[in-house]
């Protein structure tokens, strides 16, 4: 696309949003009706195809639409309340779903009527996700699911889940998985809070006992679950590490603010360290910007893993340094009571929380060690470590 074309497309889109606003008065319309109309007008995620909330335009143009609608005072879909749905479930459903599945699930997902969670990790399958032992057995037109999932954020408020389960234990572990869309209000779904080092419980354990999922909610072919899950995880790493914030976004912004507002906290040895973190954060912003420009053409590949690696390191170093700057004040925490946070904000609450929560950044969505394996094997083409779990049926693996 030439610059002139791009400008014209941007102007056309601006006009389209203006027309939409003229025809839909958000001050009198019901919020959900307004959001559904916005979806039907293709203004939900413009990079999605027509008929599924989009217009088939470059992803980069979404920011313009959001800004224009926000400037008009229109309600949004509270994207922070449905991060897994928007960032992970939606692109996976778009890539692997049937027309019926896309029609049925994408609209309520986008409007926030259905919040999504992710039933992937298990007590015995963390980094080795392909080893999941939750079983799905076909029974007529349904799948009957039994097992235990863990680290499930939002499970206590979600209506839907993306689920990876074993449909065939007789083949090797990667080949025996299938991917499902699971109703969280189905009988047999039991959600229990899982308390973290911050004192809160933003995550859950989810116990699945004879949960019925209709075959129409299988995403992708039977046995194709690993491939579908990989697409989800690539999107997750971009969602976590891809940033998209401006300069001084994230933990470095908090640190810089503390430095500016409290000259008494400044230490000589800390100045260069602060500037290095600031530079690293700014370079991560640029790298994210370039990644998004590349993505405008296609789907995220394993390159997003490098972004997430960087993001976790910066968040941990900056939050650690912030406590150090605070000195004696850094010794005082605010609250250890068990709570259910409404949504997770890595840079929210107090410095002690930020420091502790950041520890999760190098674990959730693939540990930094696994990400280094992903980069070295799938991007750099280096061989994997010798493995003892290939060519063996899952049921025969040592456990």
């Amino acid at each position: 696309m030439t610059t002139t074309d791009a400008r014209t497309v941007g102007e056309d889109l601006r006009q389209r949003v203006a027309d939409f606003l003229a025809e839909h008065d958000h001050t009198t319309m019901d919020r959900l009706d307004f959001l559904r109309a916005r979806y039907d007008a293709g203004l939900a995620w413009v990079n999605f195809p027509e008929g599924h909330g989009g217009l088939g335009l470059p992803r980069a143009l979404q920011g313009q639409v959001d800004a224009q609608l926000a400037a008009a005072g229109a309600p949004d879909n509270n994207p922070r309340g449905n991060g897994i749905g928007l960032g992970m479930a939606a692109p996976t459903i778009l890539a692997f779903g049937t027309e019926e599945q896309k029609k049925k699930f994408l609209r309520p997902l986008w409007t926030g009527e259905q919040v999504w969670c992710q039933l992937f990790s298990e007590p015995g399958a963390g980094s080795d996700l392909a080893a999941v032992s939750t079983r799905a057995v076909r029974e007529g037109g349904d799948w009957v699911v039994n097992g235990q999932k863990v680290w499930t954020s939002s499970a206590h408020k979600a209506q839907m889940a993306i689920l990876v389960a074993r449909t065939n234990p007789e083949v090797s572990k990667h080949a025996g998985l299938s991917y499902f869309l699971c109703n969280m209000d189905a009988p047999g779904v039991d959600v229990r809070p899982l308390r973290q080092i911050t004192g809160e419980a933003e995550f859950n354990e989810v116990f699945l006992t004879d949960v019925h999922i209709p075959d129409s909610q299988r995403l992708g072919d039977e046995g194709q679950g690993w491939r579908v899950a990989t697409a989800t995880l690539n999107n997750e790493r971009v969602a976590i590490g891809g940033g998209g914030g401006g300069r001084e976004s994230g933990m470095v912004g908090v640190l810089a603010k503390s430095w500016r507002e409290h000259p008494e906290r400044r230490g000589v040895g800390q100045h260069d360290k602060l500037l290095r973190l600031w530079v690293d954060n700014e370079v991560a912003r640029m790298t994210g910007q370039r990644l998004r420009q590349k993505l405008a053409a296609g789907e995220p590949g394993p390159e997003g893993s490098a972004m997430k690696l960087t993001f976790a390191r910066i968040a941990q170093e900056a939050s650690g340094m912030e406590l150090e700057l605070l000195g004696e004040e850094g010794l005082r925490a605010s609250d250890w009571t068990m709570k259910r946070p409404q949504h997770v904000d890595f840079t929210g609450r107090d410095a002690v929380y930020r420091y502790l929560r950041a520890k999760g950044n190098s674990i959730e969505g693939g540990t930094s060690e696994i990400l280094r394996n992903v980069i070295s094997e799938r991007v750099l083409g280096l061989p994997s470590e010798p493995r003892v779990d290939t060519g063996i049926a899952w049921k025969d693996l040592p456990r």
């Binding site: 980069a60 500016r260 500037l275 530079v279 640029m286 370039r290 420009q293 590349k294 094997e377 061989p383």
Partner: protein, 375 residues
């Protein structure tokens, strides 16, 4: 902060291929290494081919002044390739830094002929400042008398050995002026340099006649701008150096076997390479951002230059050090080209301001002041 395009255009990709093909044909690692032993026969033909045959010396010069009318974006792509091949040519010093100084002179003046000569690849210029001088550093060490004769000296100047004309910053009552002096009229003493692929020289001028190109009102800004552009685009060279180190090391480790296995399959090695990959990719984005911001004269250009220099300098050094280490014994030999990259990377880290000085600049630019000393 505008949404600068950080991708390469088709034109830039084509440019990259032609530079890569030419350098591959004209400069082998062995002939580059020979410059350390005093054999500089690779330099002239390579530079003539790049400057003249490909016409790259005039990239930054507008068409109406005889150049190609390209921008810092294209120049950055050339520098990536020259970094990737540690090419011993004065492209950065003549076609970027000296050219940027001259472009500050209004058309129709004394700089025109020189610019046309540079654009045609017939002449080569150098700004007489230490390679270590960065944006904001004090410039002139040279004085001019009433007859227009210059006196002074500068140490560790890059590009002077290859130049036929020197651009000399001169302190005057009205500010820093810039004079042109034929290289033949100066004493240019080669320095045994850390990086002999960008060999330095000590330049002494004792009463040589100079021609004023920029007066005291303009020269200081022109020199500062040239150092700014030089620093911004050096980042692309550093990215090229880093990328060569990373890819060469990976290729080697896919082949090298110890204990019956490919060394690149050991996790201790893979994780180091994954970290290096993340750093090199980030350096590519930072360098590209600085080039794009410079090309568009973006208000963010100064910050992005300080960011790119702070980041890319260290990544290039890290990549070269990892290349030496992960090649094992062979990486320590004169025969393997890794040392050419280590020397270039380390010299580039100091060139146009060290990373620490760029961070100190940044502290002022983005309002993160240093602590006030107590007492």
């Amino acid at each position: 902060m505008s949404d600068l395009n950080l991708l390469y255009t088709d034109v830039e990709d084509d440019l990259r291929s032609s530079v890569r093909d030419l350098v591959a044909a004209r400069s082998e690692p062995a002939s580059v290494a020979a410059v350390y032993d005093g054999d500089r026969s690779v330099v002239d033909p390579l530079w003539r081919a790049i400057a003249g045959d490909l016409g790259l010396a005039g990239l930054l010069i507008p068409e109406e002044r005889g150049g190609a009318g390209a921008s810092a974006r294209e120049v950055a792509v050339v520098l990536e390739e020259l970094g990737r091949s540690v090419a011993p040519v004065p492209f950065l010093t003549s076609s970027v830094v000296a050219t940027t100084v001259l472009l500050a002179a209004a058309p129709g003046g004394a700089a025109d002929d020189l610019l046309a000569g540079l654009a045609a690849g017939e002449r080569t210029a150098a700004l007489v400042l230490p390679l270590a001088a960065g944006p904001g550093d004090e410039a002139p060490a040279f004085a001019v008398d009433a007859d227009g004769r210059l006196t002074g000296s500068a140490r560790s100047v890059a590009g002077a050995l290859e130049a036929d004309v020197l651009l000399v910053p001169v302190g005057t009552a009205g500010g820093t002026a810039v004079y042109a002096v034929p290289a033949a009229d100066a004493r240019i003493e080669p320095v045994v340099s850390l990086d002999m692929t960008r060999q330095l020289a000590d330049v002494t001028i004792e009463g040589a006649a100079g021609q004023e190109l920029l007066g005291g009102a303009q020269g200081g800004d022109a020199v500062a701008r040239a150092l700014e552009v030089g620093a911004a685009l050096l980042a692309s060279e550093q990215f090229g150096v880093a990328q060569w180190c990373l890819t060469t090391t990976i290729t080697y480790l896919k082949d090298r076997r110890q204990f019956g296995r490919v060394v690149g399959g050991y996790q201790a090695i893979k994780h180091r390479l994954a970290d290096l990959y993340a750093a090199v990719e980030s350096a590519g984005a930072a360098a590209r951002y600085a080039a794009a911001a410079t090309a568009e004269d973006d208000p963010d250009a100064v910050v992005s230059t300080a960011v790119a220099q702070s980041f890319c300098s260290d990544v290039a050094v890290k990549a070269a050090e990892e290349a030496v280490q992960l090649h094992g014994g062979i990486g320590m030999t004169w025969e393997h080209p890794a040392h050419l990259y280590l020397k270039r990377a380390k010299a580039d880290q100091i060139a146009f301001g060290t990373p620490a000085t760029h961070r100190a600049r940044l502290a002022e630019l983005v309002d993160l002041p240093a602590p006030v000393p107590v007492g």
